[in-house]
Amino acid sequence: MSYEPKIVGFLCNWCSYTGADLAGTSRIHYAPNVRIIRVMCCGRMDPTFVIKALHDGADGVLICGCHPGDCHYSEGNYKMMRRYPLLKKMLADYGIDEARVRLEWVSASEGQRFADLASDMAQRLRELGPSPVQVAQATDMAER
């Protein structure tokens, strides 16, 4: 069987989750690789969630929130926007390709956009291959 990446998607309750829902109700076809977890706001995204997902076997993490200015809690998405560049830098220092973590804005009416993003990220990760984390962790203690 050919390799299919596992993507964990953290979607904000107010815009992006509804956007993904719209993709479904509109019967848009897109890559089924994203496992969606609904969070109340992308400002709730503790960087630990991203690292934990990668640690536990995800090949990539997709975070989606409301467009800037549209946050249900007015400022939450800005908090995630500020964390993102530092998080990418940190993951790069751990040797994790920055394409594995992506932050995107998806509104409740952008079903097509969500579908395109999911397919695009799945394709990108297919090209990149499996995450090095799982492979290395399996042998880490044995090969000191």
Partner: protein, 321 residues
């Protein structure tokens, strides 16, 4: 050996020696310990050879303090040995607890370390190819040195640890309190972090805190910091928000930002991620380009956020191929 005295061993793994000095920082108290206990091994201060420890019965020691990380096969061998011979093993200091400063080496790898230390370095004779090998043949005999591991491990990666005493080094008052608690048998549940508090450093920090809005980060030498105001609010990266208190706020009280040596707060799995979250969300900008510019003031954030905890972070090491 039948005696009522407490049988103690102290050992250093991959460490700087500061932890051993912090035991001596308890001043005359250490003399009381020496009077009330037999210190059976302590490489920095008393005699006592590996072979003496090997000759002990299993469980003969009451207490072993292991400081330093596990960097090579010798460190691990002694850790295993002390675990067998001692009823209680304490991971003493940040290196044994979280990998500490040596753990930063996990952001690179063994080959690069050996290359920098022995091959490509300004102070190395050009063309040198001699790199230490675990085994060397000399006159038909085999000489061995400890094997340098692929990465740095925490003490509890290789043995079962009873207690963790954080700090770089642990505060002398806390060390004293922990030793007394052990002597009296007033021990918390196994696996506890001892000699530290359960709140963030900020709770104990005397500096005044207001609303945090950072529009520029400063390296400590770039700014004359206000002595009474929160360092983070002044744009100096301080790890206090993501660090367990118990040290007596030694660094921020003397104008130095917290480096995070007491480790994450209870319930936190990844100290660096928490610091990242706290620090970046209070940047005072809504413009991605400006955020990037402000973040340029934090070169090598990863090594600061995980200064002591790379080996105990979720990812534990670099996955660079």
């Amino acid at each position: 050996m039948a005696t009522d005295k407490l049988q103690i061993a102290l050992y250093w793994g991959a460490a700087c020696g500061g932890c051993d000095v912090s035991v001596l920082d308890t001043n005359e108290f250490i003399l009381d310990v020496a009077a009330a206990a037999d210190i059976r091994m302590w490489p920095i201060a008393v005699d006592g050879k590996y072979s003496d420890v090997e000759a002990m019965e299993d469980g003969e020691l009451d207490l072993a303090f292991y400081n330093g990380a596990v960097r090579n096969s010798e460190n691990e061998h002694i850790a295993q040995l002390l675990r067998r011979k001692s009823k209680t093993v304490v991971a003493y200091g940040s290196c044994a607890y979280m990998g500490g400063i040596p753990g930063l080496a996990n952001l690179t790898n063994r080959d690069k370390i050996l290359d920098t230390a022995y091959v490509h370095n300004a102070s190395i004779e050009t063309g040198n190819r001699v790199v230490p090998q675990p085994e060397t043949r000399v006159d038909g005999k085999v000489l061995e040195i400890p094997r340098f591991y692929r990465r740095v491990y925490r003490l509890d990666n290789v043995i079962d640890v009873d207690y963790y005493l954080p700090g770089c080094p642990p505060d002398a008052g806390q060390v004293k309190a922990v030793i007394l608690a052990i002597v009296k048998g007033e021990l918390p549940p196994k696996g506890s972090v001892v000699g530290a508090s359960d709140v963030a450093l900020c709770e104990d920090c005397p500096r005044t805190r207001g609303e945090k809005k950072i529009s520029r980060f400063y390296r400590p030498w770039e700014i004359l910091a206000d002595p009474d105001k929160c360092l983070l609010e002044q744009g100096i990266l301080c790890a206090g928000v993501a660090t367990r208190s118990g040290c007596g706020v030694r660094c921020p009280k003397s104008g130095i930002p917290c480096r995070g040596c007491y480790g994450p707060l209870p319930g936190v799995v990844d100290q660096g991620a928490k610091l990242l979250s706290a620090v970046s969300s209070v940047i005072d900008s809504k413009d991605p380009d400006e955020v990037d510019r402000i973040l340029e003031g934090l070169p090598d954030f990863t090594s600061i956020a995980y200064r002591y905890s790379v080996a105990s972070s979720l990812l534990q090491r670099s996955y660079q191929q």
